[in-house]
């Protein structure tokens, strides 16, 4: 494997460059995935049938906490990548771990939120609105859950194999994924919650 030392570790082999570029293309596809969910959400938003509407079920506190937790996790993984670029493996792993813990916190709040919705009669099968709301949030939540497992796998590899072109590449790609989830959440926060409570 040819390693080009003039580039950051995560770009240093040909395959690494391909992986990062390919992942950008994948993220572009993810934009459309969430755009479709938003399209459906805006279409079905006011079609509540006999169930509750958004204004009736949304609460600002948990949503705000979720937002801050996720924004912070996006910041910490940014620090992790920064640490990786200056070659500090220990700091990098710490920041990645903090990120995953914050992700777990976010997920905990989201699960709590879902249980709450079901409890107050806004379950998946109640109306078109609840279905698309829970599907959109759930798709994001599923991405976060997947990210937690993926991030853990990368951490294990970092620990076992050290900072190699492969592990650096995986970590960088994972950071792209995590930032992207943060962007999606910003749109959920703005156009589902805040718009609904406005």
């Amino acid at each position: 494997m040819k390693i080009d030392h003039s580039l950051p570790l995560e770009y240093s082999t040909k395959q690494n460059g391909l992986n990062i570029f390919g992942f950008w293309v994948f993220l572009a596809a993810e934009i459309m995935l969430f755009a479709t969910l938003f399209t459906s959400y805006f279409t079905l938003e006011h079609r509540v049938g006999s169930g509750p509407s958004g204004a009736e079920i949304f609460e600002i506190t948990p949503v705000l906490i979720e937002t801050l937790v996720l924004l912070t996790s996006s910041f910490t993984i940014g620090l992790g990548v920064h640490a990786m670029r200056i070659g500090n493996k220990k700091a990098m792993m710490t920041f990645f771990m903090v990120t995953l813990l914050l992700g777990l916190t976010f997920l905990g709040f989201e699960i709590f939120e879902f249980v709450h919705y079901v409890h107050i009669g806004a379950g998946l099968q109640v109306s078109a609105f609840t279905a698309i709301l829970l599907t959109t949030l759930g798709t994001h939540g599923a991405h976060v859950t997947f990210g937690l497992f993926w991030g853990t796998a990368i951490l294990l590899q970092l620990k076992k194999r050290g900072l190699t072109p492969e592990t650096a590449n995986k970590s960088f790609i994972f950071s792209l994924y995590w930032h992207f989830l943060d962007v999606v959440w910003i749109f959920i926060f703005s156009f589902i919650y805040l718009k609904g409570m406005m």
Partner: protein, 648 residues
């Protein structure tokens, strides 16, 4: 026993029982044959675990041809049923099932893999690469497609075929009106193969952007590579839309949600909307690679550089952007206002402009060319007038006011077959004939090929032109019969005859393969067509590593210019080549997807959950695996090269 009742066919007929027996016997025959000839190991090592883009391309090709015949049998049955008024050959239920599976099979499981076959086989060769960017992912794409197709076809013998049309509109596709599991099959099978398509899109874009041979700038890429790039861009854009729509449809059917229901706020029209947000770009996904193949063939057999290279590229990019903003023309009559209909009318008509540019470019390429009327060229020349008719009727349909007359009639059926058959099917057959020698090392017989072309073209005109007339007279599509008083009888009989002639053409193509396998000469060299781009610069058969030395490209007709002007294509010297390792995981993972899909179709939750866990286990295995590929040493390359040179 109760458990097994769910697998029964709700509307059995003799044909279905016969198919069950036939499928059973075929499976036994394949297993027995593989065991008797001791080919299991060969099959596993050389094909099921391969990550070689060329082999994957060939597997796509074989699958597409098999599906072509399945969809073709559906088509013949439909035409036979409609051949005479008040026919009793099929009942309404079977007719519904047949037009549904015909549409899905032809679009998703015939046309898509056919274009993937050429993309996979040709694009890395055309850009001078050793493989695609992610060979392992490529294998996964293929196997997901393959198992998706198998799952869909399984519906015929287990549980019942889908019967709500290939568009599967809700509420018809909902549980209230489609009680059998058929529509579950539709949702899940297309979901699985759609995942594969999305991965192919990512793979191809990365390959083309990042892995071109030195000197090949974007504007020096061969036209088929450009077409592939633009196609995959659309594919990555719209397949996620389908993924979401299918997931929502699946949830409606399996989990009792109300996305597309008519109660509790659900909106059935949203399905139509999302389906066509994907569905319209999908037809451009099919036609753009076809345009690419025609461009290659026309410039090869006219002996001239493609006329208007830049306008060709620009028109494809414009088509790709416009294709994503025309979807509502599929449901002008749904009830939205004049403003949106006008908007989508205008954008639809605008697409004919870049398409027209391409038609003129091909005509100007032919102008003053030394045309060789080979089989691929015949298809390309037949394509131009026939496709123009399809395009012009498309503009008629694009006018939303007039569309109230054409909507849901045979006129529409005639229109889209008139674009897809001369556009896509002709291109695939032309490409098949054109690339056959590169893939298999011998030519298809030209004389039989020409007969097949004429049968196909004449059969096509006979089969579909009458539908324009009956459609304008009011014959609705998807109706299993009509009364004699309508007067549609004679023209439908003509259609049936045309379908029969087309069937003869396909039989001739099969015979041609058989004949050429037996009698075609094998010493054809690497460049039997005197062609122009890099895929013809390497040996036939193509070695595993494609090019022993990375080519240096100076123009969009790199190989042609090297032949005529003496450009040195391979200036470097041999170095060891890095190649990816084979892997069985893509096959296994896709097989698990099949189990998952099947369990979901029948709401068997426990196997469904187990298979989801198994899928994630496969992904974890991939993450932790240390796979650095292998090297082919200079000595091995030299041996292979000498052997291949000797063979020619």
């Amino acid at each position: 026993m109760e458990f097994f009742q769910r697998f029964a066919i709700p509307n059995p007929s003799l044909a279905i029982y016969a198919s069950m027996v036939a499928i059973g016997l075929t499976v036994i025959a394949i297993i027995a044959g593989l065991t008797y000839f001791k080919k299991w190991g060969y099959l596993w090592r050389e094909w099921l675990t391969t990550v070689d883009h060329k082999r994957i391309g060939i597997m796509y090709l074989i699958s597409a041809l098999i599906m072509l015949f399945r969809g073709g049998v559906d088509a013949i049955m439909m035409r036979a049923q409609l051949a005479v008024p008040d026919n009793k050959l099929l009942d309404a239920q079977h007719y519904n099932e047949i037009f549904t599976t015909h549409g899905v099979v032809m679009v998703m499981f015939m046309a898509m893999p056919f274009i993937f076959a050429f993309m996979n086989y040709v694009v890395p060769l055309q850009i001078g690469a050793r493989d695609v960017a992610f060979p392992r992912l490529n294998a996964l794409s293929f196997w997901l497609f393959f198992f998706g197709a198998m799952l869909f076809n399984l519906s015929f013998v287990i549980g019942g075929s889908p019967d709500a049309g290939w568009t599967s509109y809700f509420p018809l596709a909902g549980n209230d009106f489609s009680e059998s599991v058929g529509t579950n099959y539709y949702m899940l099978a297309i979901q699985i193969s759609g995942l594969g398509s999305l991965m192919t899109g990512i793979n191809m874009i990365t390959t083309i952007i990042k892995m071109r041979a030195p000197g090949m700038t974007l504007m020096k890429m061969p036209m088929f590579t450009w077409a592939t790039l633009v196609t995959n861009l659309i594919m990555v854009t719209v397949f996620p839309v389908l993924t979401v729509a299918l997931a929502m449809g699946t949830m409606d059917r399996l989990f009792g949600t109300h996305f597309f229901a008519t109660t509790n706020g659900g909106m059935d029209m949203l399905w139509a909307n999302l389906f066509w947000v994907w569905g319209h770009p999908e037809v451009y996904i099919l036609i753009l690679p076809a345009f690419g193949i025609y461009s290659e063939i026309i410039s090869t057999f006219a002996g001239r550089n493609l006329y208007g290279y830049k306008s060709m590229v620009a028109s494809m990019v414009v088509i790709s952007a416009l294709s994503c903003m025309v979807w509502a023309h599929h449901f002008f009559t749904m009830g939205q206002g004049a403003l949106s209909n006008s908007f989508f009318s205008i954008t639809t008509m605008m697409i004919s402009v870049p398409t027209g540019v391409k038609i003129f470019n091909w005509l100007f390429t032919l102008w003053k060319g030394k045309i060789r009327f080979t089989v691929p060229m015949l298809y390309s020349i037949g394509f131009i007038p026939l496709f123009v008719i399809g395009g012009v009727t498309g503009v008629m349909l694009a006018m939303s006011a007039a569309d109230y007359q054409y909507h849901n009639t045979m006129f529409l059926v005639a229109h889209f077959h008139n674009t897809i058959i001369p556009g896509v099917v002709f291109a695939m057959l032309a490409g098949l004939t054109f690339y056959w020698p590169k893939m298999f090392g011998f030519m298809l017989n030209e004389r039989i090929g020409k007969w097949a072309f004429w049968f196909l073209s004449i059969g096509f005109c006979l089969a579909f032109f009458p539908m324009y007339i009956t459609g304008l007279d009011g014959q609705a599509r998807r109706m299993y019969t009509y009364s004699e008083a309508t007067g549609f009888g004679p023209l439908n009989m003509v259609s049936f005859v045309g379908a029969g002639v087309m069937a003869i053409a396909f039989a001739l193509i099969v015979y041609n393969v058989y004949y050429s396998v037996r009698y075609s000469p094998r010493n054809i060299g690497a460049d039997p067509w005197d062609a122009r781009s890099l895929e013809w610069a390497t040996h036939t058969p193509v070695p595993e590593y494609n090019f022993a030395i990375e080519p240096q490209v100076a123009s969009s007709q790199a190989f042609w210019d090297s032949k005529k002007k003496g450009h040195e294509l391979f200036p470097g010297k041999l170095e060891k080549i890095h190649m990816p390792n084979n892997s069985g995981v893509p096959f296994i993972m896709s097989a698990i997807f099949f189990v998952w899909g099947f369990s979901m179709v029948f709401s068997l939750w426990i196997p469904a959950i187990i298979s989801v866990i198994a899928i994630f286990a496969c992904m974890a295995h991939r993450s932790f695996e240390k796979d650095h590929g292998h090297y082919i040493s200079v000595k091995e390359i030299e041996e292979t090269e000498t052997k291949l040179r000797g063979a020619n």
